[in-house]
Symmetry: C2
Subunit: 197 residues, 2 copies
DNA sequence: CCAAAAGTGTTGGTTCTACACCCATGG
DNA sequence: CCATGGGTGTAGAACCAACACTTTTGG
């Protein structure tokens, strides 16, 4: 679980880190601009993106663009940026030398991702095409920041009908090999769950 | 369930309707600007506000501010804008002569409100200080766009411990009078509910 | 054999939904 | 009395968390 940071030379040889950013062109939508910037920083297309929101603290001078429209995107693990000098993955917990606004945005990105997770199966976009159920569970545990019970997790997944067994097995070092699954949602009508206050 | 629209004179005596809007001052935060604009249009302070997001379709000329940062706010029913010539409530279903972006924003506002509802008790901000349980249920049904079962709704509310009976009763015409309640949440820890895919 | 990780069955408690019913009021 | 809406009890189903257990690999 990392955040992609870019190195910037801020004059006199000093470097600082920022989230990937850029200005929107005059004739493109916000989503298109975000996708373009993400691709440029990452070298590949994110498997999922969504807008977080607009951030502005009012500290800008008139005339300067004191407004950031932030987006979140995710990629499967192992994705590396094209050149390590310009961009690198940083752990979410410790973002070194990042402006306070970018720190706020990174936190909000995590919140947005988590809230989307409870409504759409975003977690699968964070995994390769085939994955083990333990990997899926660990992804959910990372995003939700809490441990999940193995049997309950698998039963809920079975009920939701979102994955399909491939028949392949992968040995992960020690222990019994795990079966690989792929994301294959069946359009099922959830019968409108209960209300939560 | 209405949307506050403002009348604007668009030259040559033609009028069009827009969502309340305004430019942000250089030295105020986005939230402060939204609050200021909402107060000006409404005559009173919304009981709840939150950002929806940024909207821009790339159709603007360079130099013009082709970006809208939208907010939702709610007020109890019966709130009337100061003068009916400038602003009025329009039903959400039929927004006459509103630009496509503002139509998009109005729809997104409803979605944002609904998604916040499932996480925070926003519905109470749409009601007066005291209300009947049926009014509360109807508010939830409006926001969720589905019927709720009366007994289940009240049981869930009881469990959540969010309301307090006032002891007052109100006769609503026909039928048995309904007891009035007030919003009085007790800090209770929900023991981390199950997972939903 | 042993440790480790995958995968499954069962059980008891909680929560939800739907039904049925009683209560109080206006007409 | 009756229609209407408020308010409550209960039973069956669905759900969930925890435990216990078996299976299969590497060392």
């Amino acid at each position: 679980m990392g955040v992609l940071l870019q190195n910037e030379t801020a004059g006199r040889g000093r470097t600082s880190a920022t989230l990937p950013w850029g200005a929107a062109h005059g004739d493109e939508t916000l989503d298109a601009a975000a996708l373009r910037i993400a691709r440029a920083a990452l070298g590949t297309t994110p498997t999922w993106m969504d807008q977080i929101g607009a951030f502005g603290d009012g500290n800008g001078h008139p005339g300067s663009a004191d407004l950031s429209v932030a987006f979140v995107g995710v990629v499967p693990p192992g994705t590396e940026p094209p050149n390590e000098d310009d961009a690198r993955w940083a752990p979410l917990g410790s973002l070194p030398s990042v402006s306070s606004r970018h720190r706020t945005i990174a936190g909000a990105a995590f919140d947005t991702l988590r809230s989307r997770l409870e409504r759409y199966p975003v977690a699968f976009r964070l995994l390769p095409a085939t994955f083990t159920l333990s990997e899926l569970q660990h992804t959910y545990e990372l995003l939700l920041s809490r441990k999940l019970h193995k049997a309950s997790f698998r039963r809920a997944l079975q009920t939701a009908g979102l994955v399909q067994a491939t028949g392949e097995w992968r040995s992960e070092g020690r222990g019994r090999p795990a079966q690989l699954f792929r994301y294959a949602p069946k359009k099922k009508k959830g019968p409108t769950r209960g209300i939560r206050f």
